[in-house]
Symmetry: D2
Subunit: 141 residues, 4 copies
């Protein structure tokens, strides 16, 4: 396993919320971030779909990793926007994020989120956001 | 307790993910939705803040309830945008959402999210999104 | 007229695109920015409404001024999101923007846009965005 | 010239604001929408860049056309989000939009906006939004 993926997984393991959700980092490179979250019973809303909060978590975290691939590991998501396009009915969620624009202190990234059911993927959401180096973030003040 | 709040709490109790996070509906009226999420150890990221996914969950769900106050209970969040403005360091998160524009099948809502520490509130995020009646949602197709 | 409004108007007069659209700065203070754009025939789209681009211009520029009220005059809009809620049918557009969160190098601002017809206002759009000090902007690299 | 492009150009010619800005539709198919706007002196802001309002116009309109390629010509942009990533310094702006998800009444689309200078393109903004069929739009009420 390459070093960057190993580092990314170590950070994910240090996020109690990611551990709670069972998230797993599948890829972490400058080309692509891939994060998987199982859809367990406790991840659902009242209709049996994965809750929007789980889908948002996956998008947000994958965006942060994408930004980290461009800016270094000390980053936060400053803002993002997500469109839900299909109910997340299935076994797991896979969020795939890439860097659209990487600057010195901020990166603009995109993330497509897929729901996997019986091995087949369907897009359930798509997101776009800004990732900022810590030290340059609004939240550092 | 009024009927609407009671109904809202019943729905929240039917969302396993909301139960997992310990979310509690404090207010649910046409004027204001208020949702509280405790910041437990398992809600944090590696720096000790509440994870962005928890803050997003609170915003998303409060937006949905605000939309429901205008459109009826069968609604979904179609899309939203969130700006994180301050690390969520504290004991709990309170998301307050209101309707900006209510139409026939969609409502545009806003949500301010506060972190509460030692009884004092500070804004940690703000969101804006579209809530759609089920039957009119893109995801119904 | 107070100094800040005067300064703001001078800057607006230096923006050829704002002059082309006939934009006028009505208020510019830490509490409220108010920008008016007349709806002329050349501002319309094929249905006779003001074009979304005119509404977006008003929101974007009002957001920038709101950010400037918090951060100083050397700012740019880094990103924003806008929901159109009603066709802009009328005589003019008024965009009102306020600061939701002001940090050291970035501010998160909101803007409600109204269409005015026969002296009556109706909301036609609402926006939320990030304004960044030049020197701290992604676009400065 | 194919029929769809011809139809698209006819609609653009019926938008006085698009005529005012000198916008030109280069491509209009299910695969790609391409809209060009010249950067004239009256399109600039005080620093000599194309005004954000011009960039937003291009993104918004290209998104609408992309939605129209999926949903039919009677559509409006319901909402979008845009990140500016680089000052638009150059001779013209090209907005390229595609459909990410096309449903029955709504489509989620993306748009990258490039500034062209001496024949070379550089991304200056990226956007994501929802396009809605008229009759299904919030603004139809």
């Amino acid at each position: 396993m390459d070093d960057l993926l190993e580092t990314g997984r170590r950070i994910l393991a240090q996020q109690p919320f990611s551990v709670l959700l069972g998230a797993e980092l599948l890829r972490f490179s400058k080309e692509m971030v891939e994060l998987r979250v199982p859809i367990r019973d406790e991840h659902r809303q009242q209709n049996g779909f994965a809750h929007g909060g789980v889908v948002s978590y996956a998008a947000d975290n994958a965006l942060t990793y994408a930004g980290a691939s461009a800016l270094g590991l000390a980053v936060v998501t400053s803002e993002y926007k997500i469109n839900y396009v299909r109910p997340a009915i299935g076994d797991s969620i896979i969020a795939r994020a890439t860097v659209v624009y990487g600057g010195k202190s901020q990166a603009v990234c995109r993330c497509d989120v897929f729901v996997v059911k019986d091995g087949r993927e369907a897009m359930c959401a798509t997101a776009q956001g800004t990732i900022t180096r810590i030290g340059d973030a609004p939240t550092d003040r």
